[in-house]
């Protein structure tokens, strides 16, 4: 970020219209969403029978997708809050990417949980008849809270940018101008306003950390509060949080690379950013690996009868290919790539990020389904198809559609708002030059 005038910065970072690539990308995501919507229409009319879930595997990829979304949304608190509070300035260009990932992921987490319900039209019962004893109610409360805090943390730093955006009416177009004016015309950059806003962002950064920890801890408790082998673990909260930070950081690296290459932001998202994020990712992958060792080695050492079937199924049985694939792609290979300085260059880091995200998605699948297929009493007195689980096309379509939807939200956000904070970048550039 050297020798840049604030005018150049502003021009570089203004939201751009979709090019040909962008339009194809949006159309592609829209098609995926439409297929997902059709699949959900089928599910609404026929019932959950269109899925492959049955009485034993009573939760499937909807729930693993939910856990994945909640996990990836945690990155908002990591990049924005943790790094901001520790006065790490290099992360400034990444904060908005992290926050929009958080908001979009937490939105689709709520949507996918409604998709999983047998009676979505009774959703209001959660408010009418909610029982405080149920971890689901805790989850509803913390996810709603996290959603609002994330929106605020996205909104407050946007305020100074609106003032800049409003100056470029011809470039941004009339309708967007109206939107900016509605959202931020009151921002005059007065010292009093800046003071309040800075304070609010600080308070938010502090508040979001425990709330973020809560959303994923409570999500882990949906499993850990049962007796089932593989879920009955006191390690689960920490295990989930470390995994969530890993997938979130991986997601940010992927988004960084795509925005950087697509919008030509090499001056703002620099090689140094990839190097630093790469180091963070290695650290998080090692941390998650540590929790995995805890989670599997300890029960495997004892091999309690109830755990045995489950663990053997993961290590060498039915689920072994997915299990080892997830461990290798989400942790081992990224660690091996990113440990080296060359591996932390943009492209290899991007590949490592993709591996982390894909591996983590399958990891979530392994957390949910194998446990359900290893109940305490043997599976019995049910048709053959109740004893196995492979998602139906409707489930795949809905899961993929929801992922596409989350990406669509991020894409449109980048179209409408500056994906890198303009005002903050200018300020930091000035400070940098002064120094």
């Amino acid at each position: 970020m050297e020798n840049l005038t604030s005018q150049k910065i502003t021009e570089d970072l203004l939201p751009q219209e979709f090019g040909k690539q962008g339009k194809i990308w949006v159309a592609f995501l829209l098609v995926l969403c439409a297929i997902g919507a059709y699949a959900y229409y089928r599910q609404l009319s026929e019932g959950l029978v269109v899925t492959s879930m049955r009485d034993y595997a009573s939760w499937g990829i909807y729930i693993s997708n939910f856990v994945f979304f909640v996990a990836i949304s945690l990155v908002g608190s990591l990049i924005t809050a943790v790094l901001r509070l520790t006065n790490v300035h290099w992360s400034t260009p990444l904060t908005r990417i992290a926050e929009i990932i958080a908001v979009s992921a937490i939105t689709f987490a709520s949507l996918i949980i409604i998709v999983d319900m047998g009676r979505p039209e009774r959703f209001y019962n959660l408010f009418l008849h909610g029982r405080l004893q149920s971890p689901i109610i805790w989850d509803v409360i913390v996810i709603t809270t996290y959603f609002f805090i994330s929106i605020l943390l996205l909104y407050f730093p946007l305020l100074p940018d609106f003032q800049i955006l409003l100056r470029f009416k011809e470039k941004t177009g009339k309708s967007l101008n109206k939107l900016y004016s509605f959202l931020g015309s009151f921002w005059k950059n007065t010292p009093a306003q800046i003071k309040i806003s800075d304070k609010a962002i600080n308070i938010l950064s502090i508040t979001i950390i425990p709330v973020a920890f809560s959303i994923h801890t409570v999500t882990s408790w949906l499993f850990a509060t049962t007796y089932r082998p593989g879920w009955d673990s006191t390690n689960f909260g920490a295990y989930f949080i470390s995994g969530a930070f890993l997938v979130g950081a991986g997601g940010v690296i992927v988004a960084m690379y795509i925005f950087r290459t697509h919008y030509k932001l090499e001056k703002y998202i620099t090689n140094e950013h990839f190097d630093k994020m790469g180091k963070i990712l290695v650290l998080l992958a090692l941390l998650y690996l540590y929790f995995n060792v805890n989670e599997f080695l300890v029960p495997a050492f004892k091999m309690k009868k109830s755990e045995e079937e489950h663990l053997v199924g993961l290590f060498t049985g039915e689920f072994a290919p997915v299990f080892w694939f997830a461990i290798t792609t989400a942790m081992i290979i990224p660690i091996l790539i990113l440990l080296f300085k060359k591996g932390r260059k943009p492209l290899p880091a991007f590949i490592a990020g993709i591996l982390v995200v894909v591996g983590s998605w399958f990891k979530r699948y392994l957390i949910v389904t194998p446990t359900l297929l290893h109940p305490f009493l043997p599976m019995h007195d049910v048709p053959q198809n109740y004893m196995h689980y492979f998602p139906s096309w409707e489930e795949w379509a809905i899961a993929i559609g929801s992922l596409a939807g989350a990406l669509l939200v991020i894409t449109f956000f980048a179209r409408i708002f500056p994906i890198i904070p303009i005002h903050e970048t200018i300020i930091e550039n000035e400070q940098h030059e002064k120094a």
Binding site: L152, F186, W187, K188, I196, A200, T207
Partner: protein, 294 residues
Amino acid sequence: MNNMKKHNQLYILIALLSCLSFNARAQATKNDLVLNLSYYNNNNQSQYVMVHAKSKIDGKFQQIPGIDVRFYITSDSSSANLLGKAITNEKGEAFVLIPPSAKDEWNKSANQSFIAVAQASKLYDETKTNVDIVKAKLQIDTSADKVITAKLLALNDTVWLPVTGVDVKVAVKRLDGNLNVNETETYTTDSTGTVTAEYKRDSLPGDAKGILTLIATIEDNDVYGNLTVEKAVPWGATFQNTSVFDKRTLFARRGHSPIWLELMAYSIILAVWLVIFYLIMQFIKIKKLGRLAD
């Protein structure tokens, strides 16, 4: 030609035969209905007759619901003697209480007949059954040392005389079965028509005051039918309801969660949402400052 004629005759014969057998089969689709009629007398007060309808379907006897049954007192099924009508339930049972209108007929003799007539339907022909009984009374008494005596008396012309050699069960009345007062299943009445049973169910829970209901029963007796008589005695342990239904537990209903959980949850929610509201207030403040700057 002759041959042909012979054949023709044969064909006609076969056709006729098959017609006949078809008819026979059509009639056979009306299954036989089996009715069992029993007489019940509870506490020498309320009396009723109950019919049990069953039929053999696919080689197995099954209870037949929906049969329209009429009950008559005495062997004469004239409408004057009609006790009532009832339709069999899912268990194939239908009953009528013996109404006051049967008083004159009932008081005629020490013996009594009842008949039940199942009305003809699509599936079954009209079916009749009857039961004859001798009027009898069962009495129950207890002594201070927890000994129970039950006495069976039958009406002989106009006098109630003790009956010997009838099986009587002596039990404690429970939710869905009668628990014998000791290890002996049944007693047989002696020459005074009496059975004597010792109560050996120590500390069996009764109600809140420790009251138990003793019950003496005669089941399916050929002569006297089904008789029961009850007596409440304070021999039970006092029952204290220890339900945790109204306690605050994790498995209680809405609004009954443990205090520690409510305290923790509500204080966290309150703290975080106060912060959120504070921030929204700050936001409004920024907005106001912006308007002032204009």
